[in-house]
Point group: D2
Chain length 431, copies 4
């Protein structure tokens, strides 16, 4: 398949519980897997803090990255069957490398981290691929000096071949398919399953991205529903969002203390950098930040003399989530006032987290990721229909935003604050 | 079931991919789960370094502990059905707590850690349960001041009720059943599966431990075979043992440097304690050591001026295992000499790791854990037969030791040392 | 649980691939399973002719009946947990027997059979339960002389306890849950799976039927979606409907020949009865009609001198389905004319089959089976909400009929009739 | 892959619960699947009467035949990867057709049928392939006039290419792998599962048959164990053997009555033939005998005036198995005398059934099917080792016969015959 010069004498086969086997036939892919930057992903949990709700979900971004690579590899096989000679095998290494590396810029607790420090993991991914000091860059460059730029541009969604971009980033891409199946397997969320093999069977490559054979309508429908259910039941779970707010407030407090030079000994070298320079952190220093570095810091901070830092660290390490209620913007002030009245600093002991997702959009817009899913009716590429026109269920989800805006506060307030207690009792999970 | 005073108003149900649901009906169990010491187990991987070979196996001792608790809970239910009125429900909380807490003394990379620092995780487990400063102790004492001692004695295998001990520690106990199924699920090792529900159905409680209904012979046989296969294929895998040797040598080098006061700044507070006092580490300090603390240290050590510490840290973090060959004691000196001849310090760049296990023993011995499995023929408790006399396959495994003694060295030597290269090529995995 | 007088000394446990185990603890249930009328169901396929499309779906109504029994048994257990003391255990035997016997009146290829002969399987079920000559009746009567009438009235939906009726016949009853899971397992239709254990956990018994705990909304939603997908993809598959039309026309031709006394030797004793008396067939004679009797008749008929009977028998036995296109009533005449023009008797070589189903109805109507699914908000029985108001997806399916009206004809016409060929090519499965 | 002239314009994909998908790319294979002789296999259960013990096991030989075909197809793919250019693709159609057709000569309840009538299903398979009147023969001949003889000689194990024979008939062939997995799936026997994908990955084709890569030792070991467990727990189950004895005695009684011209009206045309001519039955008449023909006959015979024929028919249809005890030849006479003493004709109301199997043989013998499994050590074809020398468990099973000789009698005797009752109570399943 790929450039024969780089085919391994002996294929490597990795057992994978979700995809059964990950097959590595290309020397460059093997080298990338073994690179320091990709190995680092073993130390970054894929689900952030969601394992604190779904205790099975402790898998890392490393195995997810292997999975995305494997799916791109299989997609190519199906392209060759379903539309012989269409796919240009020179692109194999570009898309497989992009699949493997698409998350290489992810850090610990990315969502919260980015919010606090103003960083962007997709930018870090591109930086790592383009930085000549990384092993990843050196491996790619050794094969073809243009390869880093090509792979980075796939991540940036500026690569000239839109089909390649769509394999990594579209409504049904290798990334989403892997994380949905993988997260469902590890959390035990049965409803997250769908038939990935059948979906890949139905894929037809076109210049404009992947479209699907009409025979796959119900399999794709099932995928959209699974995605919807995973968002509602796992990704937006109020308790893990309650842990995210604890984490966010904890990092805010640490930043404030660092700025004020309070207890500087709490900040050992690795962790100090990001508080010092924030989003201007170097690639090298950024790559040192993994889940373990943060929990190690929290463990040290738990013994801080600062009661807020100490207490929030304890809440995070011992899994004591903030409780939550739905709120509207007009009520925010009075809710914060209640937190203060209860004896807590509203800045560090409350917060909002607004979950929002659009399950499926039937019309195209600037965000290429959400381009609608098209089907070739009777296998005819000229006769395409959109998913919404073929599926009653998907049509129902079309543009129907899932929204869940929540206000978070310490659970102790449920003992003392009658208003919060009452709202809490009557407002169970609305999504 | 349990003491009604402690029954939760609302049962907690945790989704678990292996056991489907973990049910918590008892307030004390819920409090123990939420304790700091049990939550810490989320930060200790169940399989140590084996996830570096089986990338799916990244689950923590926390979820394993929940699983062991749940299995003890279900065993009790089956006892009540299979031998009504025999089980004394006052023991419920003792055995369920022992199941939940049996691993609470485990630290990061326990096997290697204990080898280097001379500690013992079962001793730490008892210390944590008995230490009045731990949350675990306080929760147990609040219910019954004798409870900590009872639970600790189950761990110590000195508790007066041998049936309770056998539920946590015997040939077919809650601990082994959970870890075999859990490790198989997460690594994707299909052959590790067995029918736990059927095994529990066949359990008959006796004063001397659990015996089985004859109808369960083949289900139990299948369990023994699964266990055998997990040892051979997962637990004794040479590559993860190659990573253990790297880790062991790395910690040895760090200890030497600490002793010689070289680069003391490399040892931040949390990690310094254990190098300072070794096995005399306090329970409080011990509880701060988790996987993340070690990888954080390794990440700092990677930048050490000491070439050995730096290099071994890199090998561990970037997953560069030592290679291995089988060896006999008489060849050890000359093999070490080859390592030296290749330019490596034999002390830090070689090592041995001898895997050894007895799949099944048909006769009793002092080690209660290996008491043979007995069956009630025709359900008659007076007419018992041992598993080996009922199963051809198990008889074959009877006392047949699995042994795999290996010598480990840097893979670079395969390039330069013709002797090692030749042995390596002809001596693939012997087990 | 059940009347202790009838508790078996030794519980029988049957391995079941879908529900894991079927447990029989009651002597009456065991006797019913072993009755001639229930054993007969082994010779009646659950899916009629659908195994001719999904080759895995060859399971019988016997195992489905065991499954329905088992689910009612488990429901009772959950009732006791979720609403202690509410369920009256005198009803155990009524509902478990009704679950086991609900399909006992099903004959071979029921749908087609009923259409041709004017019979009704629910009526036969009641007849078999009430007829003092059946083993089923005798077993029930021996326990309680009123029991046959009670069980039959559950089937008839006239039993006074509506909760009992709803366990066998409602939106989420034991019957539907078993057949959806069972049909999905055997056909390999992954999308048909849902979490039956979780659904049963959420059940709260009320005088008016089963309602659900709010926490189960998404699990129930997933069940409704699975049901929808099974209808669209399995139950309404055009090819198995093409085999049904062949079967219907074949039986019509046989009836015509029987009426005209043509080749009477083709009708051996067992099969002759139903052609003789039609829907007035006695219970005794009806019980002799199973799948094998019909295929044996078809095998004999294949050698008939009558070209239509012979040919249609061949088409059925060798699986040569009629092809189909969507049609509207106004086009029916001209389509039949085309069949005639192609040299086929329209009466025996064409037909219509109109698939129609309403996935979910949000409002109550006379058909109790479709009473909407209610949830107790926050577990409060007084505060109920309907599923449609809690689920975007179900709301979308609300009253949205699935309709697929098709006209069937011999596939030979696709070679000769340009109009049919063109419609066929452009009108792939519309559902 | 196959001859391009016969490649279908559109691949057919059949959903299969065991192998996920059955793919048909060759016109000849599609035509064979649609032939009357292969479709007939839908009406012959794969497990004979074992579904009367494992109620899930109701699948037909038709789906098993599709599975065997699919596995041969996949084997070829792996041959091409593991030993490029070795496999001659002209053999594709030979081995795929042999896989699909290997069971085409199976009749209803083959084991019992062959015993009573002296027939041989492998001979019928060859006859059907070679008989110019069958559709199967015509389809094969139309492609290549030598093809029927080639395919039949694969069944006869005389085909010149031993590799092709070994794919259908050897220790690890497509036939056994499919039936073990399929029977395990449908009966719910979890222990019957093994990793077929991995086994196929390890296959290396040689002139002398398939050998395996050393890396597959434990996967193959697991297969041998699964096979062993399926024999002990499913195939040799005493209760299904008790039904076989009923069936055998029933057919014996029918033959005696046919010979004596008693109630000739009980023998309708289809069934009469085999009683008339026995093993000289024509291929055409033989092909009409399926499960349904026999159960239809039994249903008619149940109303016979002959009490033995009537009673045995009832026992078979209503599943009333003979009970059994182990016996030795020396006790046979006295056991039969007890049956007579109990008021039953020993000829029709007793019988023996001797289950016997050798799980694995480490040495070659005339029976090619049992040639030992060889491994290429380090992938070196010149350095082969046998499975027994690589696996402790398999070595234990080596030549260890599974034997279970049983004497069968009506369960009524357990009420009246104290000796039988006592032996029965103390001699539970010995295997």
């Amino acid at each position: 398949m790929a450039n024969s010069k780089y085919i391994l004498a002996k294929e490597r086969v990795l057992r994978d519980p979700i995809l059964n086997f990950i097959r590595v036939e290309d020397q460059t892919i093997l080298d990338l897997i073994n690179s320091s930057e990709v190995q680092r992903l073993r130390r970054v949990k894929a689900l952030g803090v969601a394992n604190l709700v779904f205790h099975g979900g402790e898998h890392s971004r490393f195995q997810h990255s292997l999975g995305v690579y494997e799916i791109t590899r299989r997609m190519i096989t199906h392209f060759d069957v379903n539309r012989p000679t269409f796919w240009n095998h020179d692109e194999d290494i570009v898309v497989m490398a992009a699949g493997l590396l698409h998350d290489v810029g992810h850090g610990a607790y990315s969502h919260t981290f980015e919010h606090i420090f103003g960083t962007n993991h997709e930018q870090f991914t591109q930086d790592i691929i383009l930085n000549p000091d990384t092993q990843v860059n050196q491996i790619l460059s050794a094969r073809d000096k243009d390869l880093p730029a090509k792979v980075a541009s796939v991540i940036a969604k500026t690569y000239e071949n839109r089909l390649v971009i769509s394999m990594i980033s579209s409504q049904i891409d290798a990334d989403r398919m892997d994380y949905l199946l993988r997260d469902a397997y590890y959390t035990g969320a049965e409803y997250g399953k769908f038939d990935i093999e059948r979906i890949m069977e139905m894929m037809i490559p076109t210049d404009d991205g992947i479209i699907f054979n009409e025979a796959g309508v119900h399999t794709v429908e099932d995928y959209i529903i699974s995605r919807y259910q995973m968002y509602i039941q796992v990704y937006f779970h109020p308790v893990s969002r309650g842990m995210e707010v604890v984490l966010e407030n904890l990092l805010s407090r640490a930043q404030a203390m660092y700025n004020e030079k309070l207890e500087p000994e709490l900040f050992f070298s690795t962790i100090a950098k990001v508080f010092e320079v924030g989003k201007n952190i170097s690639t090298e220093d950024y790559l040192k930040l993994d889940d373990g570095v943060f929990t190690t810091a929290f463990s040290i901070w738990r013994d801080s003399k600062d009661p807020v830092l100490s207490d929030l660290s304890r809440r995070f390490l011992d899994r004591i989530p903030f409780k939550s209620i739905p709120y509207s913007e007009s009520k925010l002030r009075s809710l914060e006032a209640e937190v203060e009245a209860g004896g807590f600093d509203k800045f560090y002991y409350s917060g909002t987290n607004n979950a929002n997702n659009i399950p499926y959009k039937s019309y195209s817009n600037r965000n290429k990721k959400n381009k609608p899913i098209q089907f070739a009716i009777g296998g005819d590429l000229e006769n395409q229909k959109g998913l919404s026109s073929l599926s009653t269920i998907v049509k129902a989800l079309d543009d129907d935003e899932i929204t869940d805006n929540r206000f978070f506060f310490p659970k102790e307030l449920l003992e003392t604050d009658d208003n919060l207690k009452k709202i809490y009792a009557t407002s169970r999970r609305s999504i």
